[in-house]
């Protein structure tokens, strides 16, 4: 794993806060040239440190039907490949939003998104559970998201300071 320099770390922090910041703005904020910002971002992208630029969406504001489940999956690891092959087999399904290898009572935590409960249930019973090395699944539906990726979803930016103060 590479150790990132200070500029790279600061760029990542600023882009994580708001990925739409322009190279010109980033160059002013960080006190380096615009070219340096562009080169550094290009490096981060080509090294796959920055994988993608995405928006954090609060779907509950617009789409009641979407259902997300966190599924605890127990696996029999494969000789020579451990959990890699089976994880890939699972994450390639488009319904699967994230897959994590976990310590503790189960092996993989799989985040699945569907239009409704039946959609998710079908995926679990027909796709996930039927994979040979899957020993068991335990499906936990998310009832409400309060915070995601470090962002409090319902929080409105509220500045309750006085308009003018000494």
């Amino acid at each position: 794993m590479k150790e990132l320099n200070d500029l790279k770390l600061k760029l990542l922090e600023l882009l994580k806060e708001d990925a739409r910041r322009s190279p010109a703005l980033l160059s002013t904020l960080l006190g380096v040239s615009e070219d340096e910002v562009k080169t550094t971002i290009a490096e981060l992208e080509s090294d796959h440190v920055i994988v993608k630029y995405a928006a954090v969406v609060n779907w509950s504001k617009i789409e009641d039907e979407k259902v997300t489940a966190l599924i605890e999956v127990q696996i029999t690891p494969e000789r020579g490949r451990g959990f890699e092959g089976i994880s890939e087999r699972i994450y390639l399904f488009p319904q699967v939003k994230s897959v994590y290898l976990m310590s503790g009572a189960y092996d993989l935590l799989v985040e699945v998104e569907g239009r409704n409960l039946r959609d998710v249930a079908n995926f679990v019973s027909e796709k996930l559970s039927t994979i040979d090395s899957v020993l068991s699944t335990k499906t936990n539906f998310i009832l409400k998201k309060y915070k995601q990726d470090g962002i409090i979803l319902d929080e409105h930016e509220e500045d309750n300071r006085l308009m003018i103060s000494p």
Partner: protein
């Protein structure tokens, strides 16, 4: 027939006559007047706020909540919790190499403002002259007057980065001069003083036997050079009352937690006033302050980093607009010159508010040398800063066409 309004007028008149002249004659703060104007306006972006936009770090708030759950709700020692004074002493030594004996030389106060008030009241004999480099924080002059002292402003200017010079100081010293109030990093100019800047000032202080109240509330907010405490200059520690607090560095303005450090005789005198007036600083604030000092320095660094980014943005922004702006090295204010527009600070700020919906504080409210400038706080989000700069830019373009 006597109407109610007449009675009210009569009453107001007579009540005013009871007021102590020292208090009655204090002019209302320029900031207050502008605050009233801003409060009546809508859809304003404000650069007028003299406090961090961060909320006090969660671990600090949580420590306070937990202490309340455990029933920590009583008086503390008048001078403050011993463990907090120990922590302040250690922090000052680690950060600025000034050494105080915590139990005799450190007093925990209700904000830095109380500490300054106590220091002045402990020192002033009516008629004493108190030297105040300006532009500066708006309270020094009024609290000097309330204490019976005579504020003597020393003008600093943009040409030398709003630094105090030994010549300017010496020029204002008379036989009545007793106290010099220093405040670097400076609100409103963002100026700082280096070790080399301090040395000649220290010589003048010694020569004229002055006592220094050094308000170092913004000490943590410096960007290119580390803060140098005036108390750390050789020979100055016993002549200096170092005042600071938690408001700015730890985003704790509402907690009102400050402290004063100095010679034990002066701190003892300040403690006398403190114990008969406020008794002790609120225990909840003291618990929070202890947590901030013990576990909050990393979080503070993160905030300083963020101010630094925004500092670059606002200074660059003003320069792009065509307004001269010296580079502030501390605090979180830019102090651009609006002289090129031909308007006074008051006129510029008022028109900016009405026509561009941006609030900033006119520089003249901060005393000598402030007219022709605008105080703009960059303790606000990058999005808001960008929008404010856009609006100011359009406003200045409009002025040029007039």
């Amino acid at each position: 027939m006597i109407l109610n309004e007449d009675l009210a007028k009569e009453n107001n008149k007579s009540m005013e006559s009871y007021l102590a002249p020292l208090v009655r004659d204090i002019a209302p703060s320029g900031i207050r007047k502008f605050f009233d104007l801003v409060s009546a306006s809508k859809d304003i972006i404000t650069l007028g706020v003299g406090e961090p936009d961060f909320i006090t770090p969660w671990h600090v708030r949580e420590a306070c909540v937990y202490s309340l759950e455990r029933g920590y709700t009583r008086y503390t020692s008048n001078a403050g919790m011993p463990e907090l004074r120990e922590a302040i002493g250690k922090y000052l030594y680690d950060s600025f190499r000034v050494s105080y004996e915590p139990q005799q030389q450190i007093l925990v106060t209700v904000g830095g403002s109380e500490a300054i008030d106590l220091a002045l009241r402990a020192l002033i004999v009516p008629g004493d002259e108190i030297l105040i480099p300006e532009p500066c924080y708006v309270s020094y002059s009024p609290i000097t007057s309330i204490g019976g002292g005579v504020p003597v402003g020393i003008e600093t200017n943009a040409e030398n980065g709003f630094k105090l010079t030994a010549e300017a100081l010496e020029a204002r010293i008379t036989s009545k001069s007793k106290v010099l109030i220093l405040s670097y990093p400076s609100n409103p100019t963002g100026a700082i003083m280096t070790y080399e800047d301090w040395l000649p000032i220290a010589k003048v202080v010694e020569k004229h036997d002055l006592i220094v109240i050094s308000d170092e509330i913004y000490a943590e907010l410096t960007y290119n050079e580390k803060h140098v405490s005036f108390a750390s200059i050789p020979g100055m520690i016993d002549r200096t009352i170092l005042v600071s607090g938690f408001s700015k560095a730890f985003a704790m303005t509402g907690w009102r937690m400050g402290y004063a450090c100095g010679h034990k005789d002066i701190i003892a005198a300040m403690l006398k006033i403190h114990q008969y007036t406020v008794m002790c600083a609120p225990v909840m604030g003291q618990v929070a302050a202890l947590e901030a000092l013990t576990n909050g320095l990393e979080e503070k660094d993160r905030m300083v980093d963020s101010y630094n980014q925004r500092r670059r943005l606002i200074v660059q922004g003003f320069r792009d607009i065509g307004l001269d702006c010296h580079e502030p090295q501390g605090a979180f204010y830019a102090f651009p010159s609006i002289e090129s527009t031909g308007l006074s600070s008051d006129d510029f700020a008022q028109r900016l508010l009405v026509e561009a919906k941006v609030a900033a504080v006119p520089g003249n409210v901060f005393g000598l040398g402030g007219d022709g400038f605008l105080r703009c706080s960059y303790a606000t989000s990058v999005t808001q800063l960008n929008e404010a700069l856009d609006r100011i830019g359009r406003f200045v373009d409009q002025l040029k066409k007039e």
